[in-house]
């Protein structure tokens, strides 16, 4: 399949891409607000990153360098398929696995370890855009609560968590308040990645294809996880039973988010950088020394 077969650059027609760009403008103008848009049919099932894909296809142009990540890895199935689809439908673009080289990054469930620059845009794939959905079944009422910045029901959920488990149990999709008003669902990133949104130099865009919503954390915005004054937000600490920070089994890094594997041979737990580009870079630096 190629553009000559009859598909427009970026698969979608120009009007569809324009609509999405307008939606992005609105999302940037109202930080954290879920802007509805008419999510198009993509030649893949909804829930496989169609929201992120539509954003990428609307933003990308000839000469852009794209990185696609799935849970930190460029080689996971979802990343590979999305990348090859974009390559097919967008002739003239480049792709890369390096955060440094990319100016557009589409990601599922992770924000790269390396701080992003202000000439980069990251697109996040979102399954459930509304953080209030777990506490408020009525969409009408959710909209009112968003409008009035009333997130007391979410805070009650956190309260109940602390009462029951002595800590806040939300591990992914931690509700985060943007510029003092709207609380968004940052997609299923771990808590580790939440502080990266705060004063991020890069524009962060969120696309929910099935739920037909786009929202944004504009560069240099406040992003504050919902917490109590006296129960601070904590990120994963990856300490072992001796309270020592586990290193990555591959590169030895002690400052990255780690994935846990079971070694198929000896059945032991192995910890490795979730961000494969980061891990490679650490290894390369060690080689240089």
């Amino acid at each position: 399949m190629s553009a000559s077969v009859g598909y427009n650059f970026g698969f979608m027609d120009e009007y569809a891409k324009k609509e999405i760009r307008r939606t992005v403008l609105k999302a940037v103008a109202i930080p954290g607000y879920q802007v509805p848009y008419s999510s198009r049919e993509m030649p893949m099932g909804r829930g496989f990153g169609t929201g992120g894909l539509q954003l990428t296809l609307s933003l990308i142009g000839v000469g852009d360098n794209l990185k696609v990540i799935d849970q930190g890895s460029d080689d996971s199935v979802n990343a590979v398929n999305l990348r090859s689809f974009i390559e097919m439908t967008c002739p003239g673009i480049d792709t890369t696995t390096s955060v440094d080289e990319a100016n557009l990054i589409q990601s599922r469930h992770r924000i790269p370890e390396k701080p992003l620059r202000d000439d980069q845009v990251i697109v996040m794939q979102v399954p459930y855009p509304d953080p209030l959905v777990i506490v408020e079944p009525s969409e009408d009422r959710r909209k009112i609560q968003h409008g009035e910045g009333n997130y007391s029901k979410l805070l009650v959920k956190l309260y109940e968590d602390i009462v029951q488990f002595d800590e806040i149990t939300i591990s992914h999709r931690y509700p985060t308040c943007i510029n003092n008003h709207y609380v968004l669902d940052p997609s299923p990133i771990p808590r580790w990645d939440v502080p990266k949104m705060h004063q991020s130099r890069a524009l962060i865009l969120f696309g929910a294809g099935r739920e037909k919503k786009i929202y944004a954390v504009p560069p240099y915005s406040k992003a504050e996880p919902l917490v109590f004054d006296d129960v601070p937000f904590r990120i994963e600490d990856f300490r072992d039973e001796h309270s020592v920070r586990r290193p990555c089994a591959r590169c030895g890094c002690t400052s990255s988010f780690l994935d846990e594997f079971i070694d198929s041979e000896n059945g032991e737990k192995v910890y490795q950088c979730s961000d494969s580009d980061w891990c490679d870079e650490q290894l390369a630096q060690q080689g240089e020394c």
Binding site: I144, G147, E148, N150, S152, K153, L155, V156, Y159, E160, I162, V163, Q164, V227, F228, D229, D230, V231
Partner: protein, 276 residues
């Protein structure tokens, strides 16, 4: 003495209403359904006021419009006509001129409501303490330990064992649920509290202790209250002044002892004569 609330010409019609509605309904017509257009005149031209620290009773049978009156003031219903002014310190709020967001803000921050049905006032999916926490969180409290301490104090005050604060309300008896509801309503120490048939359906002994609690709270916090009931005993115990309602109209109002000892309207006389 400071005025807290002033209601003027409050009306609520369910249905499209017509020019005849007011004339063809009411106690004299023995109905609140307009024979012209079939609309229900739930409340018509209610005017009353409430002073700081005062308990005003509204008594009447079901369908008299007594609940409608407080529901419009708590913004659960929209009135068809009339105005209501809430005096909050130096500020004056024209209740029905406020937009929805302002109304909700006021209801969350300055008013309290205790319903007959605890399902309306409590979230049954979260713990008793969580219910109180919600109200505190809504008003901007963000310290977990402060919230815990406040919830413990409130539940102790309303005689719910604080050890039970992390249980779901469904595990509680009806009387306990009402106590939790009162604790929730009081969490932000609202200057104005609405109580809609709060003791109806409870055992007599439980009723009595809830009424005691309300009275003690009123004396401690000087909360102004509007108490809606069909029970003369509740009025006798709580209210300094009383309004008697029938078919959406206030047919009589006065000092509670005067309403009970020297009722003027035929309906009130019947009501008093038939009370146990």
């Amino acid at each position: 003495m400071k005025k807290v609330l002033e209601v003027d010409g409050l009306s609520k019609i369910y249905g499209k209403g017509c020019s005849q509605c007011a004339q063809l309904t009411g106690p004299d017509c023995d109905t609140n359904i307009c024979p012209q257009c079939g609309s229900v005149v739930a409340a018509h031209d209610l005017s009353f006021d409430l002073y700081e620290g005062e308990i005003l009773g509204i008594i009447g049978e079901s369908g008299s419009g007594k609940s409608t009156a407080v529901k419009t003031l708590y913004f659960d219903e929209e009135p068809t006509a009339g105005s209501a002014t809430f005096y909050d310190g130096q500020t004056k709020h024209d209740l029905f001129e406020l937009n929805k967001a302002q109304q909700r803000h006021l209801a969350n921050h300055r008013f309290g409501m205790v319903y007959q049905n605890p399902h309306l006032g409590l979230n049954f999916g979260i713990s008793a303490g969580g219910n109180i926490a919600e109200r505190l969180l809504m008003s901007g409290e963000r310290s977990y330990s402060t919230i815990r301490a406040r919830a413990t104090a409130l539940l102790t005050r309303t005689e719910v064992l604080p050890e039970r604060m992390d249980e779901l309300p469904k595990n509680f008896s009806g009387g306990m649920q009402q106590r939790v509801q009162i604790a929730k309503a009081l969490a932000i120490e609202p200057p104005l509290l609405f109580l809609d048939e709060v003791t109806t359906g409870l055992d007599l002994s439980v009723q009595a202790s809830i009424l005691d609690l309300i009275l003690e709270i009123q004396q401690e916090l000087k909360t102004s209250m509007v108490v809606v009931t069909h029970d003369l005993g509740v009025i006798r115990l709580l209210a300094g002044r009383t309004m008697v309602m029938k078919y959406g109209r206030i047919i009589e109002s006065g000092l509670t002892d005067q309403i009970l000892e020297d009722p003027q309207h035929a309906y009130t006389q019947r009501l008093v004569a038939s009370s146990l």
